[in-house]
């Protein structure tokens, strides 16, 4: 009777995911009937293919008659339907095994692999084993003879993976380099030999991807030797996280980085989201602000999502790290512009962070500690048949204790304190679709103080430090269910609470509470590979409450009379806000090869309303295209209209009388991508954005009846982005990012307004990131950054307001007409991975601002504006850190 090992080494991992270099093996690329898909493979799979129908191969007669067993290693390409489209032999076994296995595998049927877009073609490795039944094994086979089988076991052992303690199954164990004295580990990693002759033996285990294990043994007469052996995986982490920076396929611009690389970029504190600041289009955020400045847009014009649900902040207050545990991040969609209609209510960029959907079979604890904070994550599977995946993470900072040491006598201090938590549950045993629950949040405090020798008055009501607290909590559900062959329902409701508290001194406060209901639902319909249509709703409803307290009526500010009597002023209000936006997006692939040309038209209907009477309506048509002119080159372009509602405080008035519409951006981009297999890729994009109806404060306000804001501001942003990237095909990886841009504003183009640079306009943004793997698990990486200084407005002297005790400064030139000196930084990181039998430790040292030291971040003035000085960012900082990982 034939026996087989149908699931032996069913390496249901994408080749690209398994290969740390990200290369498609040449043979695989050649054999793939689909252009397989390097780009697809770089997209994390949400569902791996599962073998549904196994086809048993006939045992080759000659091999059977000779008593020979064997294993054939196959490369199988599975199409979107789960059918096998091609089979290639990677490692044959001869004796007719290769042909039999190849033929049998071509009849396999799998469940299709899926990523966010639905079913995708994939390549898998599959080992087809041929094993004879015991009664078929020839009697004269050395270690398998009946005679040997009667001998007692005198050598056994168990083989485990170092660091993870995972039993290593189906690893060949060879003695004395004799193929006839060979066995392999079982599912518990165990192996045994019988009847070994006493004396010296050499044990050898070699397996792809692992450091070969060799051990000398002495077998004693009448004794049994038991071993516990450990093998070290050369590429830890690859089976845990396959995250990338990427953009959805239909987007024009896609910046793709391996998340395992970005976590080792110096100066980012291991935070994959912070690495966005090294990519094209992202400007440098001044120290301590954590602002998202994307393609010259105001920070509030860019939107941040976690698994499709919008949250108000992506960085903790202080801007040092993001609000999610880095080990929970699977991928980051960074969309600097020209994004589709799925995203709305923003004119700037979009960041959509996707949390992990795969969980290790063996539970894992990761703990990270550096000078900023300390936190950990535990993840694994639980429930019946391990049907649920879970991850729980938490973190708290202590950088507020260290910052005064770094800022020294710089005068101003910024002390952030943050904490965050995440709890995620993913159902893993669903036949189709997906279901997960995610609870996450953060709670931050930031204190800023101003020293006495800097410009400020003696007015009692304006004394004191600034203190901010900001917190966000969300509970989300992600549910996806096929409704037929071509139709899928995606539903993601979310409930949450945003808490904001701003205090200045002892008498000023702005407290807000926003209960948020967000629902994103999509119904993708893909009747053919050439056409898909996705209607969707992106609903945000909020119940807002705020309490604003001032020691004086705000009218004080526009009356500018410090001698006027002051009354404590308080405003409390609550109400409902609603934004039920609808969108419809299509993907058209009109050419015979659907990968050649993609046209993505979309339409979004925006509606915003507040209970106090404010409402606005707009329509956003957008279209983008990607055209593969050559196999390795893509031309891309986009046109789009983007409407953004006013910020909550801008669209609120006690009397509800707000005559403001949406701010508008008209965007156009054109660019190209080039990929040189396997290591180099190049992207370039030119963009132009025209901004209209920008809201600006009404400085001419004289009474409560006047509008607080006017919408006659305009702007223009244009530039070029460039990214040259080298994948880690050997020991070197890195990228060079350059952005040349100009972002201008004019507050009153119809009147006496003039064009001035946007406050955070940075003409040149050049970032070089490079890492090099050294022997013995050392790695060195560096980040070099050059950025044009931010605009600043010069002052020289002032007029003393005797009543208020401060000087009103003279502006000596046009607003934002000067710039800070360029920002230069060189960061260096050295790390070493220690792998022990039961755990791993990554130790690193980040040296920040290695060469240039402190960079000017702001200009500050003395009390009468006759002296000025730069407020510098961080000086040289040595940040040692440790990451521990243990399986249990």
């Amino acid at each position: 009777m034939n026996a087989f090992l149908p699931a032996a080494f069913f390496l249901t991992r994408l080749l690209l995911a398994q290969d740390p270099t990200g290369q498609v093996p040449e043979t695989a690329a050649e054999s793939a009937t689909q252009p397989a898909p390097q780009e697809q493979a770089l997209t994390p799979l949400l569902r791996e293919p599962e073998l549904l129908d196994f086809f048993q191969a006939p045992y080759p007669d000659e091999a059977r008659s000779q008593g020979i067993e064997g294993t054939v290693r196959l490369l199988i390409e599975i199409d979107e339907t789960g059918s096998v489209s091609s089979v290639e032999i990677l490692e044959g076994a001869g004796w007719g095994f290769d042909e039999a296995a190849s033929e049998a595998a071509s009849h396999f049927r799998f469940s299709p692999a899926e990523d966010e877009r639905g079913p995708v073609p994939v390549l898998i490795e599959f080992e087809y084993g041929f094993q004879l039944a015991p009664d078929e094994v020839p009697a004269d086979t050395d270690n398998s003879t009946d005679t040997a089988a009667l001998e007692p076991v005198n050598l056994d052992g168990r083989l485990l993976e170092m660091g993870t303690r995972r039993p290593l199954e189906h690893f060949p164990v060879l003695l004395d380099d004799l193929p006839e004295i060979q066995t392999e580990t079982d599912s518990d990693g165990c192996f045994s030999f019988r009847g070994l002759s006493p004396g010296h033996h050499e044990l050898r285990i070699v397996y792809p991807g692992f450091v070969a294990l060799e051990k000398e043994l002495e077998i004693q007469e009448g004794e049994r030797l038991s071993l516990k052996l450990w093998m070290r995986n050369k590429s830890y982490g690859d089976d845990e996280i396959v995250g990338v920076y990427r953009r959805d396929r239909e987007e024009v611009t896609r910046y793709t980085l391996d998340i395992n690389q970005v976590r080792r970029v110096p100066g980012t504190f291991g935070d994959p989201i912070r690495v966005i600041q090294t990519l094209p289009g992202a400007a440098r955020s001044p120290f301590g602000t954590g602002l998202l400045i994307i393609r010259g847009a105001n920070p509030e014009d860019s939107a941040v999502y976690v698994d499709g649900i919008r949250i108000p902040l992506i960085y903790h207050l202080g801007g040092i790290v993001s609000v999610l545990n880095a080990d929970l991040v699977e991928s980051v969609d960074y969309l600097p512009g020209a994004y589709g209609v799925q995203y709305g209510r923003s004119m700037g960029g979009v960041i959509d962070v996707h949390t992990k959907t795969t969980y290790p079979e063996q539970r894992r604890l990761v703990w990270s500690t550096d000078i900023l904070d300390s936190g950990g994550l535990v993840e694994g599977r639980a429930g019946k048949n391990d049907g649920w995946g879970f991850a729980a993470a938490g973190r708290r900072s202590y950088i507020d204790l260290f910052i005064p040491l770094f800022t020294g006598d710089s005068g101003m201090f910024i002390k952030p304190r943050w904490l965050d938590y995440q709890l995620k549950l993913d159902r893993l045993d669903m036949d189709a679709g997906k279901l997960n629950l995610f609870l996450f949040g953060f709670d931050d405090i930031l204190q800023v103080s101003t020293p006495a020798d800097q410009a400020q008055g003696t007015d009692q009501d304006t004394q004191g430090d600034l203190a901010t607290r900001y917190g966000t909590h969300r509970f989300t559900l992600n549910w996806e269910r096929p409704l037929g062959r071509d139709l899928t329902l995606r539903l993601a409701p979310s409930l949450g609470l945003d808490i904001g508290e701003l205090g200045f001194g002892s008498d000023m406060n702005i407290d807000t509470r926003d209960w948020m209901l967000e629902i994103r639902a999509e119904l993708p319909w893909k009747p053919s590979p050439a056409f898909s249509l996705t209607p969707g709703i992106d609903l945000i409803a909020s119940y807002y409450f705020f309490d604003v307290g001032f020691p004086m009526d705000p009218a004080y500010f526009w009356e500018e009379d410090p001698l006027a009597e002051r009354e404590e002023w308080n405003l409390e209000d609550h109400g409902l806000g609603l934004g039920p936006d609808l969108y419809l997006v299509s993907e058209l692939r009109p050419l015979a090869d659907p990968e050649r040309l993609l046209i993505t038209p979309g339409l979004r209907l925006n509606y915003t309303a507040l209970q106090n009477g404010y409402s606005a309506l707009s329509l956003d048509p957008r279209i983008s295209t990607r055209w593969s002119l050559l196999d390795d080159a893509v031309v891309k372009a986009s046109l789009g209209l983007y409407h953004q509602p006013p910020q909550p405080f801008e669209m609120y008035r006690p009397d509800g009388n707000v005559d403001l519409g949406y701010e508008v951006a008209r965007s156009a981009t054109v660019g190209w991508e080039y990929e040189s297999e396997p290591a180099l890729s190049l992207q370039m994009e030119i963009f132009y954005k025209h901004l209209e109806h920008l809201l600006i404060p009404n400085w001419e306000i004289t009474s409560w009846d006047d509008p607080f804001f006017k919408d006659n501001g305009v702007g223009r942003v244009y530039g070029m982005e460039f990214l040259l990237k080298r994948e880690q095909v050997d020991d070197l990886y890195g990228w060079l990012s350059y952005t040349l841009s100009r972002s201008m504003r004019n507050d009153d183009p119809q009147g006496d307004g003039y064009w001035y640079p946007f406050e955070l306009d940075q003409t040149h943004i050049l970032v070089l990131v490079a890492g090099y793997s050294l022997p013995r698990d050392f790695e060195v990486s560096t980040k070099v950054q050059y950025v044009t200084g931010n605009p600043t407005t010069p002052y020289a002297g002032g007029v003393y307001d005797v009543d208020q005790g401060f000087y009103w400064p003279y502006q000596t030139a046009q607003y934002d007409s000067e710039r800070l000196p360029p920002y230069w930084s060189v960061d260096l990181r050295l790390e070493k991975l220690f792998t022990f039998r039961r755990w791993q430790m990554r130790a690193y040292i980040d040296a920040l601002n290695l060469l240039h030291g402190e960079n000017p971040e702001y200009v500050t003035y003395n009390y009468d504006y006759t002296e000025s000085a730069y407020v510098h960012g961080l000086p040289l900082i040595i940040n040692p850190g440790l990451d521990f990982e243990i399986r249990f």
């Binding site: 710089s410 006495a452 020798d453 003696t458 005797v802």
Partner: protein, 279 residues
């Protein structure tokens, strides 16, 4: 940051300005006085201008620079009385209300200044802006001139404001009389606590935004200036009134001055000048 301290008078400064009365009524004449200090005592001239709030901006009154230049470029000692009167008339047209040391500043409010206003508006009043340009000896550029401004409320208030008066300075609990000299030890720290006159903190009526009369009590605070040494804080926050002053360890001046300005947040202000010597 190594900025000069705001409480150190190391150049020509205007520290305070007061009007008497502090809150005049239409038809009154306000006599104005400034606390203009200079470490070198090199004040050449202090020019005073006035304008109503409606014609002022963030920098006070818009000064007719031609008027300033004409007086700064003229040797008044050489002018006859008629020429001085003619010049004064020209300058008054430009808003000039004083040119110390030649012309003491004062301003006579038109009797009809508040006509046409409601009773409540008249009680609240309007502000007159007083602009001071302190010109040092040998001023070469505009930036050498110290500019300051102050608002003088003019009203028909039920309880017009008076300037607060500092009647003594308590140093470590011992009160110094006006005009006395304080002797201190270099490097020592002293508690400075200005003592206000009994009637300095006034109760006054205020018509609130609901149209109700409230009786309020002033909350004055103090600013401290000096030539050498350091304060723990250079201004007090009501109800505190004292600060700690540490005398210089190695004084550069044999004698220095500490100026204390009191402000009642209604426009009234006054000051105390304290001479300090060292043991």
């Amino acid at each position: 940051m190594d900025f000069s301290d705001p409480w150190v008078v190391d150049r020509l400064r205007v520290l305070a300005v007061k009007s008497e009365p502090a809150e005049p009524s239409p038809g009154d004449t306000a006599m104005l006085e400034g606390l203009v200090v200079s470490p070198d005592d090199d004040v050449q001239m202090v020019l005073w201008f006035a304008c109503l709030a409606e014609s002022a901006d963030d920098y006070g009154c818009e000064i007719d620079t031609a008027a300033m230049e004409s007086i700064m470029g003229t040797d008044l000692e050489q002018l006859s009385n008629d020429e001085i009167l003619a010049l004064q008339e020209e300058l008054e047209d430009a808003g000039l209300i004083g040119a110390e040391p030649y012309l003491d500043p004062s301003y006579s409010f038109p009797a009809d200044l508040l006509d046409g206003m409601s009773k409540e508006e008249r009680q609240e009043g309007v502000n007159l802006f007083i602009q001071i340009a302190a010109v040092p000896q040998g001023a070469a550029t505009d930036s050498d001139i110290e500019l300051a401004y102050k608002r003088i409320p003019v009203s028909r208030a039920r309880t017009p404001n008076d300037n607060p008066e500092i009647q003594a300075l308590a140093v470590d609990g011992f009160q110094l009389a006006p005009g006395s000299t304080l002797e201190v030890d270099p490097g020592e720290t002293y508690q400075l606590d200005p003592v206000l006159a009994d009637d300095a903190i006034e109760d006054y009526y205020y018509l609130d935004s609901d149209g109700e009369w409230e009786i309020r009590t002033e909350e004055p605070y103090f600013e401290f200036y000096l030539q050498e040494g350091g304060f723990d804080s250079w201004y007090s926050l009501y109800p505190e009134s004292s600060v700690s002053w540490t005398a210089p360890v190695a004084p550069l001046l044999e004698q220095q001055t500490i100026w204390i300005v009191v402000k009642d947040r209604r426009g009234g202000m006054n000051w105390w000048t304290q001479t300090v010597t060292y043991h």
